[in-house]
C-alpha cells in the first residue's frame, strides 16, 4: 500500500543524477527484485528557425495531475507484477541537458518492469495535465507539443 498511495510526483527544478543513484541504491534491500527499468527525459536543445531551446519551463494542474497519476499507478500495479514504481516530474525552468522526468519500475523478472515503465511514460505524456514552454536563446518562447 505504501507503494501505491497518492504522492507528489512533482519536484522543483531538474532531477539530479545523484537523486537517481540514491533511488537505485535504496532498492538493494529489496532482494526479490531482479530487474529495474528506468526512463529519463532530458531537455533537448532543439533548433527551430535558427533559434535554439535553452530551457523548458514546466507548469501543471497539480491537483488533477496527482489524481491522474494515482490512477495510472493503480492501473499499472493491477496489470503488471511490479515490486515498486516511482515517478518524478520537474516543474519550473529546466535547462537543456538537464533531466525533467524520472520513471523507475522494478519487478522480480525483467518483463513487467520494462513494460510498465514504457506504458507509464506513454500515459504520463498523454494523461497528465503538464505543460512545457520552450525558451529560446533570444528569449522568445513557444509551447512544447508532444509527439505521440
Amino acid at each position: 500500500m505504501s507503494e501505491k498511495k497518492s504522492k507528489n510526483i512533482f519536484v522543483e527544478g531538474a532531477i539530479a543524477p545523484d537523486f537517481i543513484s540514491n533511488s537505485i541504491a535504496k532498492h538493494a534491500t529489496k532482494k526479490d527484485i531482479g530487474g529495474h527499468s528506468i526512463f529519463l527525459g532530458q531537455v533537448r536543445a532543439d533548433t527551430i528557425d535558427g533559434k535554439t531551446v535553452q530551457a523548458i519551463e514546466y507548469t501543471c494542474f497539480e491537483e488533477m495531475a496527482l489524481q491522474k497519476m494515482f490512477i495510472i499507478r493503480e492501473d499499472l500495479f493491477a496489470k503488471y507484477d511490479l515490486t515498486c514504481m516511482h515517478v518524478y516530474h520537474s516543474l519550473g525552468t529546466i535547462k537543456a541537458g538537464e533531466i525533467c522526468l524520472f520513471v523507475f519500475t522494478s519487478s522480480a523478472h525483467r518483463k513487467p518492469a520494462i513494460d510498465a515503465c514504457n506504458e507509464c511514460v506513454e500515459r504520463i505524456k498523454a494523461d497528465l495535465p503538464v505543460w512545457g514552454k520552450e525558451i529560446f536563446d533570444n528569449e522568445q518562447c513557444q509551447w512544447k507539443v508532444n509527439t505521440p
Binding site: 494542474f61 488533477m64 516530474h89 522526468l101 504520463i124 495535465p129 503538464v130 512545457g132 509551447w143
Partner: protein
C-alpha cells in the same frame, strides 16, 4: 465562479484564473469566455470539471472548479 487556465491559454487570458458570472452549465461559461476572449474560440483545449475531463455540456454546482486545458506536453 472561478475558471482556471493553463499553458498557452494563459497567453490569451493573461491570467491563470478568472472570475466569471455563475452559470448553469459549462457551455454557458464557455460562451462568456469566448465573448471576452475571441482567440479562445479557435484554441484547442478540453474542459475539466473538478479535475475530470468532460466530453459534453455539464451542469455546474456550487464550489465546482472548472478548468480549460490545452494539449498536454509534459515529460
Amino acid at each position: 465562479m472561478e475558471v482556471l487556465f493553463f499553458g498557452q491559454l494563459t497567453d490569451i487570458t493573461q491570467s491563470p484564473k478568472l472570475t466569471v458570472a455563475a452559470a448553469a452549465d459549462t457551455d454557458s461559461i464557455l460562451q462568456q469566455l469566448h465573448a471576452q476572449f475571441p482567440a479562445l474560440a479557435s484554441a484547442t483545449y478540453v474542459v475539466a470539471v473538478n479535475g475530470q475531463v468532460i466530453q459534453h455540456n455539464t451542469p455546474l454546482e456550487a464550489n465546482t472548479t472548472m478548468a480549460l486545458l490545452p494539449p498536454f506536453s509534459g515529460g
